[in-house]
């Protein structure tokens, strides 16, 4: 335990030092508070608006997690179907890779128009699109990443396709899959919040940030950003936790207790 504390000590020191420096700099340099509020103002805004922020955070989180689930399910379903058939893979992968390279977030207003600007479904669809492509592409890569020798070994056992899938392809795909969903977890909150910038339920983090900023209530905007950051980090940590349980054997996990 003390080893953990010592490991994280420099990071904690930098964090506290950074906050203090911010506070002191804003006061000492007389930076106008509406441009960059000091951390103490943001903390005050967090406390006074806590009920609103909790409710808004819940709305945004629901959109992010809902969209994540849709995108993940779709990405996995298409990946498994595609990985199985080389022809489908050859036909679909170039489009998937191209789609993954375009700024999907630009579709946010379109999704708002299609699925209703105030409906959480429109935000979920933006998130689902953002999540779908990295999950699908990486899972296909992972499922087809098993080396030739592993497949020949299974062939020498006269193993069925299903056995090869469950015993070789899926375990080989896990590192690729987790790389994708770590990216997707972050993307899902970005998608939900940016989707809200273009309109949505009033009590949502994206709306609070946009409206607070337009009324120059920057401390309040910052407090919503803090909640969004906390949600993003929390989501990411949950995925890392699942990753450690799912593949303790992986090189990146070795030597951890």
């Amino acid at each position: 335990m003390t080893r953990h504390v010592r490991y994280y000590l420099p990071a904690i020191a930098v964090f506290i030092g950074g906050i203090l420096l911010w506070e002191v700099a804003v006061r000492a340099l007389h930076i106008q508070r509406f441009l960059l509020p000091p951390p103490s103002d943001i903390a005050t805004a967090l406390i006074t608006n806590r009920d609103l922020l909790l409710q808004a955070g819940a709305t945004t989180l629901l959109e992010a997690v809902g969209g994540f689930a849709i995108g993940l399910t779709g990405g996995l379903a298409v990946a498994f179907a595609t990985a199985r058939f080389a022809l489908a893979r050859g036909a679909l992968m170039p489009f998937a890779i191209a789609a993954n390279a375009i700024p999907i977030i630009a579709f946010a207003p379109i999704m708002n128009a299609w699925f209703g600007v105030t409906s959480p479904v429109s935000k979920m669809m933006i998130v689902a699109m953002l999540v779908f492509f990295p999950v699908m592409i990486n899972t296909v890569r992972g499922l087809t990443s098993a080396d030739a020798a592993s497949l020949e070994l299974m062939r020498s056992y006269a193993a069925s396709e299903r056995e090869i899938l469950t015993r070789v392809r899926i375990p080989s795909a896990l590192p690729y899959f987790f790389t994708a969903i770590k990216v997707a977890a972050t993307l899902s909150l970005i998608g939900a919040i940016v989707g809200e910038y273009f309109g949505g339920a009033t009590v949502a983090l994206g709306r609070i940030i946009v409206e607070s900023a337009s009324f120059l209530r920057f401390a309040q905007a910052w407090s919503a950003i803090i909640v969004a950051a906390a949600l993003g980090i929390g989501f990411y940590l949950i995925i890392i936790g699942i990753e450690r349980i799912a593949m303790p054997w992986h090189a990146s996990m070795r030597g951890r207790t």
């Binding site: 080396d147 592993s150 020949e152 020498s156 056992y157 054997w249 070795r254």
Partner: protein, 265 residues
């Protein structure tokens, strides 16, 4: 060569070419080989002589272009689906996500062996290769030689009638390789499994084999088959016998003459 039904492997006039017409490479040409039950036969030759290809044809990992191959009196494909083969490659090909015992048990899971019998079998195999203390370890925690022993335990787990080994000790240092050779002979004598062993090491081929099949490259064919009549059980002492050195010379000469014949043809 007439078809001897008691042969484990019977290869007749086998050819294998890679590539398309016009740019094809002849990997194997006119191969005839008969391997008797309980033999340990080495295939030796320079790289590109098709020794690995021949092993892969026997193991039904690739198909011959022409000629016939029978394993235990059946087609190679039938032998594979009957699980007559155990295979050991140059790399151990152990799965990192499985412990050593789970890796050894992999083929047993595939043949649906009941769990209790499987556990017993895994324990026996690990004892055979002297890895019992490492059952719960993961592959990366073991040295290269230990990983290859685990791969051998896995290959022998369902008591295959034929063990195919493709340069299994090629990546090991000389000392470990010699120890593994002795180990392999002990395992072979205990199990009575027929072994086909691909190597490019002359001492290894002579030390292990009942017969050494010398091959030459371009096109890959058999130039000589040398009977190794060194006494068994073989040990480090075997490596000091006059007969051992004579056989090493004989294999070396065989490889050289094959090389000359290969370049002049």
């Amino acid at each position: 060569m007439n078809n001897d039904v008691s042969a484990v492997v019977e290869v007749h006039e086998l050819n294998k070419t890679f590539g398309n017409a016009g740019s094809e490479t002849v990997a194997l040409s006119g191969i005839n080989l008969s391997i008797r039950p309980g033999e340990l036969v080495s295939l030796i030759g320079p790289s590109g002589c098709g020794k690995s290809t021949l092993l892969r044809v026997i193991g039904d990992l690739t198909r011959p272009t022409s000629g016939t191959i029978e394993v235990n009196g059946k087609s190679a494909t039938r032998a594979r689906t009957d699980r007559d083969y155990g295979m050991v490659f140059q790399a151990p090909v152990l799965f990192d996500w499985r412990t050593i015992e789970a890796n050894v048990g992999l083929p047993l899971e595939i043949i649906d062996m009941p769990k209790a019998r499987r556990a017993q079998r895994i324990a026996d195999m690990l004892a055979l290769v002297e890895l019992s203390d490492f059952a719960r370890h993961h592959p990366w925690q073991l040295s290269g030689g230990m990983q290859q022993r685990a791969a051998i335990a896995r290959a022998l787990a369902f008591e295959p009638r034929l063990l195919l080994m493709d340069e299994p000790f090629g990546a090991l240092d000389e000392m470990t390789r010699e120890r593994m050779n002795t180990e392999l002979l002990r395992i072979w004598e205990q199990t009575g499994t027929t072994i086909v062993f691909v190597t490019h090491s002359i001492p290894e081929a002579v030390f292990l084999s009942s017969r050494v099949v010398v091959m030459s490259a371009r096109p890959g064919r058999i130039t000589k088959i040398i009977e190794v009549d060194l006494p068994r059980p073989r040990s480090d002492e075997t490596r000091t016998l006059d007969g051992y050195f004579e056989l090493i010379t004989e294999v070396r000469e065989g490889l050289k003459s094959g090389h000359v014949a290969g370049t002049t043809s």
